[in-house]
Symmetry: C2
Subunit: 121 residues, 2 copies
Amino acid sequence: MPRTPQAANGARPSPGRELAHPDRDDITLTAVLHALADPMRLRVVRELAEDGGELSCTDIELPVTKSTCTHHYRVLRESGVLRQVYRGTAKMNRLRREDLDARFPGLLDTVLTAARGTPGS
Amino acid sequence: MPRTPQAANGARPSPGRELAHPDRDDITLTAVLHALADPMRLRVVRELAEDGGELSCTDIELPVTKSTCTHHYRVLRESGVLRQVYRGTAKMNRLRREDLDARFPGLLDTVLTAARGTPGS
C-alpha cells in the first residue's frame, strides 16, 4: 500500500501510519488471556473500560519506562484487546469491547470484576 | 522438613514429597490468566474440568516433550489453578475449582466456555 502523507490538520489518520490489528474472527482466547495477564496491561484495560472512549498512552500513567509502555500497548493491540489509531501526533487507544464481547461472551467483564475485587493482582 | 518414607500402599502422600501450592487468598488474577494463556495448559484445564476428578499427567496427552509437560503442570500448580499430589509414584492433578470460583467468580467457567467456542485458540 502506498504511503499517504499525513493530513495537514492531523485529524485524519494516514493509511501509511495505520497499525496492524487482528480481525474479530482472528482474535484468539490465549492471546487475549496473555494480554490481560500482566498488572500494567490490566490497569490500561481497566482505565479504558471505565472511560469508555479513547485515551492516549500518556493519559494512563504507568510506572514503567516508555519502551516498556510501548511494548504493553503493542501486546494489547496485537491480541485484539484494544484499537490504536493516530490522531495527529497522538496514538489513541480504545477498548475493543464489542469485538471481545462477541468473540468471548462475558470474559472481559468477568476479568474486570475480578480485577476490581483483588486490587494489585 | 525431614523426608518421610513413602507409605507402603502408596495411597498416602508423604510430607517430604508434598508440592508447593498457593493458599486460596494468595492466588492472583494475573497468575491465573497467565496459566490459562497457553493452548496446552488450557487443554489440561478443560480435561480436568470435564473429568471433575483426579487425572495423572499421562492421562492427558499433550504433543510436547516430557520436560515441557512438567513445566506446564508446574505453572498451573504454582498459579493455583490445579492441585498436584503424589499417589504412590503417580502425580495426580485436580482442578482447584472451589478456590478459583471463590476467588474470581465466573472466571473459570467463562474461560472454559470461550475455549469450547473457539477450538484451538
